[in-house]
Subunit: 121 residues, 2 copies
DNA sequence: ATTATAGTTGAACATATATTCAACTGTCAA
DNA sequence: TTGACAGTTGAATATATGTTCAACTATAAT
């Protein structure tokens, strides 16, 4: 009577009930992928600085450059990135483009995480 | 009378007051880096699946392998990663190592983000 | 003691991604 | 209409990172 083997990791299926229970309660893959992408947007030091600055007030690209001490190109690339992920929006006014947070969700997640980081000192 | 130029991005300092205001109110760089690292932990599909599964219940490495359809090595590497970032903890019991969430902060951030993703349908 | 299995580890590989660079567009002012 | 400047873009480069592979440790069972 051979044991039931996991094909991928070549271990025995040790706790089939646990696996089954977890499988029934986890979020579906699409949702988790979306969440991972959201976190990815905040996982880079440049991008989180931009998000944090925009949570203070609307800023144009050059303001952000000056604030972060970075080139227009680098900042613009990351703003494009954040815009695609719908975390910020940009509005053109004359020669300038003013960026702001797309909605309040980012602010909320940011606040919870800030609290978490501050508590872990 | 030359304008004041930003050295890094070679633009004029357009809105010095905005920059000053933002500079005074943003979080310090260390805090933002810590936050970015926290988000980085959740920004990979494998890691967020692990976190999600562990938020359901304690699991050993092989349980996670079976659940995610991945090798022990790949899962173990990511668990090490998550352990270093203090998001999960592992307890050895005999041959097995049981992993669980390190604390409730992750659960909270996860919940807020899940809500965010679900609302954006 | 020997064998099987849970789990870890470091190196190698492949891929993803952040910044730089140079060229470009669009708008304003002279 | 010409020059200056805000901002964007694509390609190139450099670096970071996820998975695989093979070798390893530790524990339990025979």
């Amino acid at each position: 009577m051979g044991k039931c083997k996991c094909i991928v990791c070549d271990c025995n299926i040790i706790h089939a009930d646990n696996v089954e229970n977890a499988k029934n309660k986890v979020q579906d893959d699409d949702t988790l992928l979306e969440m991972a992408d959201f976190y990815k947007a905040l996982s880079d030091s440049t991008r989180i600085k931009i998000i944090n600055a925009l949570s203070v007030q609307e800023l144009c690209v050059c303001d952000i450059c000056t604030l972060l001490n970075m080139t227009k190109s680098a900042v613009s690339h990351q703003l494009t990135n954040l815009k695609e992920l719908k975390l910020v929006k940009g509005e053109k006014k004359g020669k300038e483009v003013w960026y702001s947070l797309a909605d309040d969700h980012v602010r909320e997640v940011f606040a919870v995480t800030l609290e978490h980081v501050k508590e872990n000192v």
